[in-house]
Amino acid sequence: MRRLVPLFWLLLATAHAEGISSLAPKLLPPEQAFRLSARALDADTIEARFDVADGYYLYRDRMHFATEPVPAAKAVLPPGKPKHDAFFGDVETYRGEVVVRVPLTKTAAGQKITLHADSQGCADVGVCYPPNPQQLTLVVPAVGDKPGAFVEPGSKGWFK
């Protein structure tokens, strides 16, 4: 079997190299390029983070947050880096770590809150990913409790 392994990879590599000349092998899938996590800081606040990989950026005005069943107030987005876009005018982008506060109201301790986070970003090599709606579920801590643990979107669940 061990002798067959290189053959197997050769087969895959040939098949892949044949048809597609692309940046694909160097590019990260969006959920790795823009890693989302969030935690309940306290009964009134969710902290959402995007960990943007080197060579990638997110658009500030494409980032939207919503919660249910309790609706969130407007998310507090940090200022981004100004960038001039020929078609959209002045926009702001984020690189590295982006920390966003999503204010909640009228939650109860132990309540489950679903956070919807929409984002859209690009890679410096010259590709953009489509808008990426993601969601994750957090539990509201009791008043005076420590912040909850960071949670990532459910799509990674089978690694846990």
């Binding site: 067959l4 087969l11 098949a15 048809g19 597609i20 000349s21 692309s22 010259g126 990913y129």
Partner: protein, 189 residues
């Protein structure tokens, strides 16, 4: 049944039968590997990428709402570009496509844009750019469509070049540089 037979049955895990089990295991593993490889190739759209018929079967509305079949350009060197207004690298390469369409259109090149976008935004940008080739509206469904054509990461821009026989001559994720485009067209026209 005599003692020898029973002994023979009891002796099941002997060297030859263990080897047979090993062979069966190897065959199973190879079959599994080939199955995975086949699924991978299929998912990766390499079959679809070789054969441009999936592209030529597309019928999409243009920015004015008229349905356009890509088959109408059969016999041309067809450059199908998936793009969006929200994709800056897409917009940046399009002036080159406009210039190339103007230069080589009469020689048999046809550019076709498939926008992963709203018709309003496409119309506005097409007007601004003085787009001289069709801008078809794929909406966000066009991302899924591009995945079936080999765009595994669902990123933009994504461009497929078909030769005059409808075979895929080139697939490009990311900008298609003018030099590369010229080399391709030099070969295909």
């Amino acid at each position: 049944m005599n003692g020898a037979d029973v002994a023979a049955i009891d002796r099941a895990p002997t060297a030859p039968s263990r080897r047979r089990a090993l062979i069966v295991a190897i065959i199973a593993a190879v079959a599994l590997a080939l199955g995975i490889a086949a699924a991978f190739l299929h998912r990766g759209g390499v079959d679809a990428v070789r054969d441009g018929s999936a592209v030529l079967k597309l019928v999409l509305p243009d920015a004015n709402g008229q349905q356009q079949a890509l088959a109408q350009w059969r016999g041309k060197v067809l450059v199908v570009n998936f793009w969006a207004t929200w994709c800056a690298p897409c917009r940046e390469e399009m002036p080159e496509f406009v210039a190339t369409q103007a230069r080589d259109g009469a020689k048999g090149v046809q550019f076709v844009g498939i926008a992963v976008d709203d018709p309003d935004k496409v119309r506005a940008f097409a007007k601004e750019l003085k787009l001289n080739y069709p801008a078809l509206i794929g909406g966000f469904g066009a991302i899924e469509l591009s995945k079936t054509l080999g765009n595994d990461l669902a990123a933009l821009p994504f461009t497929i070049v078909l030769d005059r026989q409808g075979r895929v001559a080139h697939t490009q994720l990311g900008p298609l540089k003018q030099a590369k485009l010229d080399a391709l067209l030099g070969r295909l026209l």
